[in-house]
Symmetry: C2
Amino acid sequence: MAMRPETDDESKPQDGPHPSRRQGKPRGRPRSFDRETALERAILAFWEHGYEATSVSDLTRVMGIGAPSLYAAFGDKRSLFEEVVRAYGARYGSFGDRALAEEPTARAAVERMLREAAAGYTEPGRPHGCLVLHAATNCTTPEVEESLRERRNADIAAIESRIKAGIAAGELSADVDAAALARHTGAMIQGMSQQSRDGATKEELEALAELAMAIWPRS
Amino acid sequence: MAMRPETDDESKPQDGPHPSRRQGKPRGRPRSFDRETALERAILAFWEHGYEATSVSDLTRVMGIGAPSLYAAFGDKRSLFEEVVRAYGARYGSFGDRALAEEPTARAAVERMLREAAAGYTEPGRPHGCLVLHAATNCTTPEVEESLRERRNADIAAIESRIKAGIAAGELSADVDAAALARHTGAMIQGMSQQSRDGATKEELEALAELAMAIWPRS
DNA sequence: CGCATTTTATAGCGGGCACTAGAGAAAAGT
DNA sequence: ACTTTTCTCTAGTGCCCGCTATAAAATGCG
């Protein structure tokens, strides 16, 4: 698998000891790589190929470090993946939470979620679709698969809560099935993620988002 | 690796996908297992765990045969998987084609597809969701992943064709976007498959199917 | 300068992977 | 009976997996 052909352009551990690590001075030999950029490259690798299909030697190659450095800085493969999932959620997967928190109505929040998913899942220069959906399917480590499954179901539950809040606020009729509406939104987002992996364009996903909004009761 | 000594030899009793009935008796020691039931168990194993996460020793265990018997009867792991995908399509994955062929309108066909997906993806006693969707995501063998991707896109193209035929037959308005409608149906089915894997019940998926049909223009 | 501490590169560990060689076992042909 | 053909069982093959023992390198401290 062709990940990143180039590595190791810096020959020296940088003279300026990047001081943003700890308040005290580190005692031993300083780390020769930037932990954040290494983590970002691990995110991209896991995002594109998934947990199992990304081997430790794949990781050391794209992160530009040796295996002992990886284990010293991030723990074993599974704890690195957990950190990757957390960082992915903060950097790439928080558009849904933001939409739910910032938009004035549940309908507007869901519409924004779908539109941002259409754009984010097809963003050039990074893997398509959603890491939480695709990185741990068919996983031989059941705990890893289960942790992402819980995250997916929690996301749908968050949508349901927002819709219920919208009903309570009077913006939606009381006989709206919040759970079904939330599940529909989740299924659409998951379908869009799959479509983006299968080659759908941003415009096609945006048409999908617009179509999906037609089921919403007029508010 | 490519040196299997007796592959595709015409003089042998054909071990092809369907040995309907051979003319004459086979010469050597007879096979001690039923090829069809072994194949069915391989289907269930790949369906549940996916291509990569199902090892050959997993397969020999659930199929009840030794590794040499597996390789003699089915070829290597990849050709077994290809035969599994074909048999799965014929036995479990053909509800979509049947709906498209048998229902009188495109709308009725899609509605039936969604309802049968809701039931089939949550059928007790067998893996949930769709093998074509889940068995080869994050695959280190790109050809396997690609073959299922092509199958998924072909399924959506078949829906689009049926919708276009419906437009031509006058059952749908000419300004209906057949491609978008077909993609929406595909995304819904893919989302339903994911939901079923994440624990959704048949009733929840049926509510999803009903909700999804609300986007269809009244016909 | 030692000396302690931490990270680095090298090299390899045990184990599971897909796959197969070789010999025996069970049938039909002669 | 004997041969031929085909399948089954045992016991591996080499390879890659996640992971680590070891020692050299690079820093701060006295």
